[in-house]
Symmetry: C2
Amino acid sequence: MAWRAAIMGATGAVGQEFLKVLQERRFPLASLKLLASGRSAGKKLPFAGEELPVEELTASSFRGVELVLASAGGSISKKFAPAAVAAGAVVVDNTSAFRMVDGVPLVVPEVNPQDIKLHKGIIANPNCSTIVMNVPVWPLHKAVAIRRIVVSTYQAVSGAGAWGMWELTEQMKAFAAGEPIRKNKFPHPIVDNIFSHNSAIADNGYNEEENKMVNETRKIFHCAELLVTATCVRVPVMRAHSEAINLQFTAPVSEQQAREILSEAAGVRIVDDRASNHFPMPLEASGQDDVLVGRIRQDISQPDGCGIDMFVCGDQIRKGAALNAVQIAEML
Amino acid sequence: MAWRAAIMGATGAVGQEFLKVLQERRFPLASLKLLASGRSAGKKLPFAGEELPVEELTASSFRGVELVLASAGGSISKKFAPAAVAAGAVVVDNTSAFRMVDGVPLVVPEVNPQDIKLHKGIIANPNCSTIVMNVPVWPLHKAVAIRRIVVSTYQAVSGAGAWGMWELTEQMKAFAAGEPIRKNKFPHPIVDNIFSHNSAIADNGYNEEENKMVNETRKIFHCAELLVTATCVRVPVMRAHSEAINLQFTAPVSEQQAREILSEAAGVRIVDDRASNHFPMPLEASGQDDVLVGRIRQDISQPDGCGIDMFVCGDQIRKGAALNAVQIAEML
């Protein structure tokens, strides 16, 4: 079977990665439509040796389309995904629009592939930092139930879109030249700086990114009682998110046990060389399918032996977005 | 009273900051000797309108010296601090050489100033990330005892010394020019990257920086049973360390209560504007005496109300090193 597919938001950072991942994985395509806003219409994008035209996204774009990979922003998905479903397509949506909607599966293929078949036209792809955390935490949780997660993120600018990488690059050039740093879309300078994630703060004092990590993880793990607190921070890194993860299990878990579970886990690669101080880094996670995991150690602040600390790093455009969505499509 | 003082390691990043802080605070000096390695001897450094010569540090450098501010590395302190004490001086040591030695006070002036008077010639200045954490955490602990701290750091390259700033600057220039990134002293590229703190990993799986945060905090707080876990990470920021701090208290603490305590705490400035997404950032903490504190919120992963999350940022050359040492000297 080959799909008649369309990409919504084809010119964005994730849209570009969709094209790359579909080619690399030889995803079975009968046809591929590239959809974007009117101002990108007419552009051509290379795909599998051809130049595909970008078409303007409209409600009638989905005639004959069976699969939509969507990453054009939440409001665009809210507006157009129902039209795509009405036209008979399955939408794998990378935006936050439908993630927490009851009845819409929210899927990390390594965690809850069984939820895919419950879809009613839309399958949601989780937030990038949620995916990067869930891939290594799930196999541990499956072995011994986790009570509580404390996570701090070090998030790349590409999480904000292609413009984030442009803005950091421009600011690095200005810094190197000794010129004033000009802000553009980020609320604060990102070169030579870090700042609390640039999403709105909700009533509970957490920003949207943090609340996504909390609520999406509970939904994906089917574990409403899982306790999670997150602090999300933007760092001057182009690509790949890092996370310091502290786990409190409901029973003792040894460092050795955690290491064994992770060494056999799908989508995980251990990078944990204490002698040479070599651990997961964004530079090495970029462009990789796997989430890198290291600094695996017994948490000395949990004397009951129920604690594990680790540091993980994953390409948030790839596994955190495009790859995860294509993996879902492959399972359809 | 005016001190006959000497700076050990006058040409380093912290040594330079000593000169700045002594001038700004009009520290009472009868004389000031600048000591450094032989290869810096003969240099002149500006101080209070004069040019002071740098002298080579030897065992006989301390004749007539009453106060030594030391920041020339642990092995130098181990070698020369006893000579300084024998010559009658008090040494405020910014290295790790004596911090955990029984009988040597380890002091954050906002936390345990009473320990200063117990000195026998040497007073240790804590590690920079310890100080940045202790200043805001102590007033909370004093109000309601803390059971456990989970901290993740975002540490500037200046923590490694002046060469760290040089290395990041060179790598930023190369990145901006599209040239290959050359490593020098850091084990990994630091531009467009983050990495686990470049200190050795101890037997317990924690690196030296993390073990310092754990053990020094217990000593400074006089609380051997305090549980602390830390993950220390280097980020491409010139100056000022940031830390995501999760606190578990022994009794409920409300967000409002935490905010009130912090608003009256010495050495703390609250930067916590949710509406404009303005929180502590290295760019704004650099050059400041206060530790900036924000993202103060009730930890939703502790349903008993005993948890507070916050994000802090402090200039680690200043409050994390030079200023803290000069404050100790002022209290002598």
